[in-house]
């Protein structure tokens, strides 16, 4: 898949079942969409595979994500 297409896929996977997540991810794309590195895109793809409620709890800091290599992406999502 081309980078363009991969970003399109990630954008669509940022459409969630909970408004809270839609809003956080919308801000994320506005802030970081243009500058997303390949490594970050790969991390985001993993993070977007999480279940709605789990992802929200992690963004709120109620829980930590199990995989340390995704911590950087979670921090970005928490900051926006």
């Amino acid at each position: 898949m081309s980078r363009e297409a991969e970003l399109g896929r990630l954008r669509w996977h940022s459409r969630r079942g909970m408004l809270e997540l839609d809003l956080v991810l919308e801000r994320f794309w506005r802030r970081h969409g243009e500058s997303l590195s390949e490594e970050q895109a790969a991390s985001l793809a993993r993070v977007l595979e999480l279940e709605e409620a789990d992802l929200w709890e992690i963004i709120c800091g109620r829980r930590e994500i199990g995989e340390p290599r995704l911590q950087g992406m979670i921090e970005l999502l928490r900051e926006v």
Partner: protein
């Protein structure tokens, strides 16, 4: 454009939320070849956001029965609900909830092992006497658990899922029979005809027509748009439930529990204005009363902020420990989306669109019904609808909390059963597709592809949402509605000329959003025009110029047709299936 290939199934279901998954179980377990098409992975459907629970008069904690539940639902609907469908739903509730338990739904339990039940607004015992425990929940993950249990069941039953496909248009033949849908695969941009003997829409709500909505971005009313373009009327589209406390500017829902813990609503001068509107219940009055009071404060210039367009939900007088312990989720939401820590400053809130009572007209078998040859309920062959996109009508002018998850289960199942029977009664070959089957889809896609000097999708969508919020909100004024009709039709001309810069085929979100806007605008027009015409206040429709319910003239369902924005009406079914009619009364709590 490339030729459109055809895939044949016995049944097609558009939508993999609660309603679609429940119907699919029925079809696949009957051995029929069933396809479910969804814009997103099934367990990411909006049903996942439901936390409160699902209603069923199980009577596990105290005495309860379906007749009381039925009474509450009719009263909640402000008598606009069809009493045959309401009886059907309330009588089936225990059965579908117990089935869900067998599918593996992890309901909260009592010590004796039975399903735990909690009270919820509007659900009462003994025909409206006092609150009853009727809501069944799985912690705060009811919708999530429900989707998982039903998705697993479908996988086991060999339901074929087409995930990240967007249905585009309904295909009918000259006689009006529904033959399936066209749909686009997001990963390739390829358009395919899904041909079926029975087609069910379970596409969910359309709260995104409003500026302020609790609904996720995905709720764009695609099923309603497709139905309207195919000549099917939409029923009771003026009725939208507003939740009083959505975070201003974001829409995220702040639960009623916050006011239960002592939260107070204040206007720009700090006044606790609910004391004027509901001297006894104050901030704890029912959803519609509180929403209307807030809308009046804002309309009369007592809103807060630079645009005076919200009020404040104040928790600062509460012990910070209470906020941290009892309402942690709320503190997070407020900090995230309002930039306000509720321990130190109030949360800006506005009444926020939450649930669509209207939809595609159906009977309680899940069949889509329209006026034809002097009848108001002629079945559209091959077409079915269930869930929030359908109007059976059990919620009438106002839905009770926890009744919509029940609606999904009961009418998802019922539609599935009807489809099984109808498919078995049909010849084994699919009916022929007409020569013009793909014309509508082709012309819509070609228009979008070729548009020059057109309108920006985001700006146009925003304009629509503003018009709906300002002119068709919680409290409705005749002059505003009249202007609203003109304005929404003006926005429509822009929607018909949207332009996208990116023409790529693979995961082109710009194209998807433009196609969604085609559907949103149909819903918006239906809502505005139906609201302007209905000259009464009933349930969620509150008109300043007609403050009372008017049963002599308006005890009837609205039907909006896309062609020429024509309105028609049909009677409310006041006769239940087996019990006496619940007579008209004033709706007071």
């Amino acid at each position: 454009m490339k030729p459109i290939s055809i895939r044949k199934f016995d049944a097609i279901i558009v939508g993999a939320g609660g309603a679609g998954l429940r119907a699919a179980i029925q079809l696949s377990e009957s051995g029929l070849k069933t396809a479910v098409i969804s814009k997103v992975f099934p367990t990411r459907s909006h049903t996942v956001a439901a936390q409160g629970g699902v209603a069923a008069a199980l009577g596990n904690s105290e005495e309860d029965n379906w007749q009381w539940h039925m009474y509450d639902t009719v009263k909640g609907s402000d008598w606009l609900g069809d009493q045959d469908a309401i009886e059907f739903m309330c009588r089936k509730a225990n059965e579908v909830v117990v089935e869900l338990e067998h599918y593996g739904m992890p309901f909260d339990r009592l010590d004796n092992g039975k399903i735990y039940q909690r009270p919820f607004g509007g659900h009462m015992s003994n025909f409206g006497e006092k609150p009853v425990r009727r809501a069944c929940a799985a912690a705060d993950r009811t919708g999530h658990a429900m989707l998982h249990a039903m998705y697993q069941r479908n996988v086991r039953a060999n339901t074929q899922f087409f995930v990240e496909w967007m249905a585009l248009d309904l295909v009918r033949d000259g006689a009006g029979q529904v033959l399936g849908v066209t749909a686009m695969e997001m990963e390739t941009g390829e358009v395919v005809m899904f041909q079926a003997k029975a087609t069910l829409f379970a596409t969910g709500g359309a709260g995104r027509i409003f500026y302020s909505s609790t609904n996720a971005f995905i709720n764009t009313g695609d099923g309603l748009g497709m139905a309207a373009r195919a000549g099917i009327p939409l029923e009771d589209m003026e009725f939208w439930q507003f939740h009083p406390t959505g975070v201003a500017g974001a829409g995220v829902l702040i639960t009623e529990g916050v006011r239960g813990e002592g939260g107070i609503l204040r206007n720009s001068s700090g006044e606790r204005f609910m004391e004027r509107y509901a001297p006894n219940a104050k901030d704890l009055a029912s959803r519609d009363v509180v929403s209307r009071a807030m809308a009046t404060e804002i309309k009369e210039g007592r809103g807060c902020g630079p645009h005076k367009d919200y009020v404040q939900l104040d928790l600062t007088h509460l012990d910070p420990k209470t906020v941290m312990q009892r309402l942690p989720g709320i503190r997070e939401i407020s900090i995230q989306f309002a930039g306000a820590d509720p321990i130190k400053e109030p949360i800006p809130v506005v009444p926020t669109a939450h649930y669509m009572m209207g939809g595609i007209p159906t009977n309680y078998y899940g069949q889509v019904v329209v006026p034809k040859d002097g009848r108001h309920d002629a079945v559209v062959p091959g077409f079915y609808a269930a869930g929030e996109c359908a109007c059976a009508s059990v919620h009438g002018a106002n839905r009770l909390g926890t009744n919509s998850l029940l609606d999904l289960l009961v009418f998802g199942k019922s539609a599935g059963e009807t489809m099984v029977a109808d498919i078995r009664a049909m010849p084994s070959a699919h009916p022929d597709l007409p020569a013009d089957a793909f014309d509508l889809t082709r012309s819509r896609l070609a228009r979008l592809e070729d548009q020059k000097d057109g309108a920006n999708v985001h700006e146009t969508q925003l304009a629509m949402r503003r018009v709906m919020q300002d002119h068709c909100g919680v409290f409705r004024f005749p002059d505003m509605l009249e202007q609203g009709v003109t304005k929404i039709l003006e926005v429509e001309t822009r929607v018909r000329a949207t332009e996208i810069k990116d023409k790529s085929q693979v995961f082109n979100t710009a194209r998807l959003e433009a196609l969604e806007l085609d559907n949103l605008i149909e819903v918006a027009k239906a809502a505005m025009i139906s609201a302007e015409a209905r000259q009464e206040s009933r349930g969620a429709q509150a008109r300043e110029d007609h403050p009372d319910r008017d049963d002599a003239n308006w005890l009837k369902h609205t039907l909006w047709y896309r062609a020429a924005n024509r309105l028609d009406y049909k009677p409310v079914q006041m006769k239940p299936l087996s019990v006496d009619s619940i007579e008209l009364k004033k709706r007071v709590y």
